[in-house]
């Protein structure tokens, strides 16, 4: 069963770096809970929603930002919040949760998984949903059934402070999904952990 959308693409910083706005109250019948857009979650941006090719971008949530125009307005309020909800609901809608999503591959129209930099880009308002467990396995399984992590170099090249924890969480998740490949995933995990945990602490 396909997952419900958790938000929509609202901006991009590069071909692979997108900003997704999480649906708030009133935008969707069932707004997503915070655990639906946790750090390291695999998400999909459906390109067909806007009359596209039927491909689906696959991405990882690597960052969360909270938008709050009220921040900094430290003066007294003329109207209490309960009244604002009644008289100016638009004002409240200006607060938003934004997700940093990095694109790590795609499913083509035939449902075949491709890892790496996708050829296509998402469009604004493209809905974003979580990947199911089956989709995560399909996305990572190679021809021989062994897990593939071809987007790891692309992640490591981002020079972002959260890339290493992101990769560690991905590897841990894959170790559960591909138990027979734990040893090779452990080599990668140890390597990333040594460089991101032990070496910087020395």
């Amino acid at each position: 069963m396909m997952q419900q959308p958790i938000g929509k693409i609202v901006k991009s910083n590069s071909h692979i770096d997108y900003v997704c706005q999480v649906f708030g109250v009133g935008e969707t019948p069932q707004p997503p809970a915070p655990e639906d857009y946790s750090f390291g979650a695999f998400v999909a941006a459906e390109l067909e929603a806007n009359g596209g090719t039927g491909a689906t971008l696959v991405g990882l949530i690597y960052n969360t930002l909270l938008m709050n125009p009220e921040f900094g307005a430290l003066g007294p309020r003329l109207s209490p919040r309960s009244e604002v909800e009644i008289f100016s609901p638009d004002y409240l809608a200006e607060t938003a949760t934004l997700l940093g999503v990095i694109s790590i591959g795609w499913f083509d129209a035939a449902g075949r998984a491709q890892q790496g930099v996708p050829a296509l880009a998402a469009t604004v308002n493209c809905p974003v949903r979580l990947l199911t467990q089956e989709e995560i396995i399909t996305f990572h399984a190679g021809m021989d059934g062994q897990p593939q992590l071809r987007y790891a170099p692309q992640l490591l090249a981002q020079k972002h402070a959260l890339v290493a924890p992101l990769l560690l969480s991905v590897i841990d998740r894959l170790s559960d999904l591909f138990p027979h490949s734990r040893s090779r995933l452990a080599v990668m995990r140890n390597n990333v952990a040594w460089k991101s945990i032990v070496q910087p602490a020395g």
């Binding site: 452990a186 995990r189 952990a193 945990i197 032990v198 070496q199 602490a201 020395g202």
Partner: protein, 559 residues
Amino acid sequence: MIVKHPAIGTVKGPGETPNDYLFIAPDPERRVKHGEFVYYVTAVDGDERQILGRVTGRRPVKLFPDSFLADPGVPPTSVAALLGYESDATELFEITVTVLGYHSPQLGDFINPRVPPVNGAPVYIADDELLGAVLSKRRRGERGSAHIGSLLSRPEGAVPIALDVRGFTGTHLAVIASTGSGKSYLAGVLLEEMLAPHNRAAVLVVDPHGEYSTLQEMMNLAEFSAGNYKPRVRIFRPDQLRVRIDTLTIADLRYLLPNLSEKMHYQLGRAFSFAQRSAKNGHYTLEQLLYAVRQTAEGKKNDEAGFDEDDPTTGALIWRLHAALGNSRIFHDFENLELDELFKPGQCTIIQLNEIDRREQQVIVATLLRRVYQARMDTAKGKLERGDPSHLPYPVFCLLEEAHNYAPANADAVSSDVLKTILSEGRKFGVGIGLITQRPGKLDGDVLSQCMTQCIMRITNPIDQNRIAESVESVGRDLLRELPSLSKGQVVVSGASVNTPVLLKVRKRITQHGGQDLDAPAEWMRWFEEDRPAQAERAAALYAEKKVNYEDDGDVLWA
């Protein structure tokens, strides 16, 4: 499939020299030791081959930061775990391997593929069976094998190493080790193997310390008997040694006679020729030699006595000859050690030279070696008939303890020349030499470099290490670096008798070891416990109680 075990590492790439490669290994069990043998598999001319190599270096490439080691009571793994690194994979080593190649049974040697392994190729520890088959030229117990121990990097006895007896008896052997590192023990093991039923060698041991006599046990041990074969061990003690005076050369005489003047040298040379010319069958006695000295005196008067007593040169020469030869129990007019008594297949002859003057030792060895070499040459050329005491129709092997005394580096010794001759040419006539020395720095470099099989034990002296590095080509720098850290009984064997240099532990001797150090504190303690009470008892039995008389002021008057 020629791979039997899981890989221990992965090839990184070529090393510094064309024969080296590097591999990376986590090695949590510390199996990749210095000197360990590893291999990778590659196709050579269409066949899958195990390319054997020896570990020559080990460098950590993944280390905890120094700051993690700040508290000796806190292991760095726990600091890493504190930060979230909980894996056991905390170490990684870059291992340098020197390639030996794959073993070709046809050639009996290693063939180097001359191409480094591919990056990422798995590397395996060579198993005992493989090493047992390729490191030694001979199988243990086979004819021509000398099983002297087992590979050091493996459990004792797992990979037996057998030297090729043909190799070291043909192209000579050097056993180099500092005092107390077990060189005599190793020599004992070698002699046991040479006298074993599968070798039955004709061996002579020059034993300046009298520490090989325990080899006599071989005659009564079942391990050394087979069918009607039983080894024989003959010991010639110092009082049994004889060198017939006419076997001494002019060089020997000059060496034995101290402080000869130019004139004496000249006259001695003439007298020697005279004695040889006038001797029947080449034999002459000391008296005849002295007569020759008198006959060849300058300005000799033809008086009745036949010599001029007043000629100081003649007098001095005669005096010196008397002192050196006449008063010696070694040099004799008629008796000699016959070669057919000294050398027989299946016989180990031990010449004990303890209590003999250094120069006499050198002359004994020189004359012996010269006679052996001549006898082997004459026998090979058919000059000697069967029944002649010098007829030696079989190759012989001579083991010289304290060899630096017989071919010193910076001094003249009468034995140097004959030793060098045999070392360079003895191979053709089947005279093999084994040199044992504790000071290779004092041994003539040419002599050492002529020994094509080397057994090197612990050497800490840098001069000795340099001499080994200069003279011994077959031992790589990596093994030379091991020398100071070797323990007693550990030996690097290289050269013609093994397929590749190996580090091994010498096996246990079957016979007792005769060269053990004296336990001085134990001896002192024993004196107090046994000898002193016995002495006191004897003293009490012999003498009545001593009376002591005192003077008035208390001084002892007499006791």
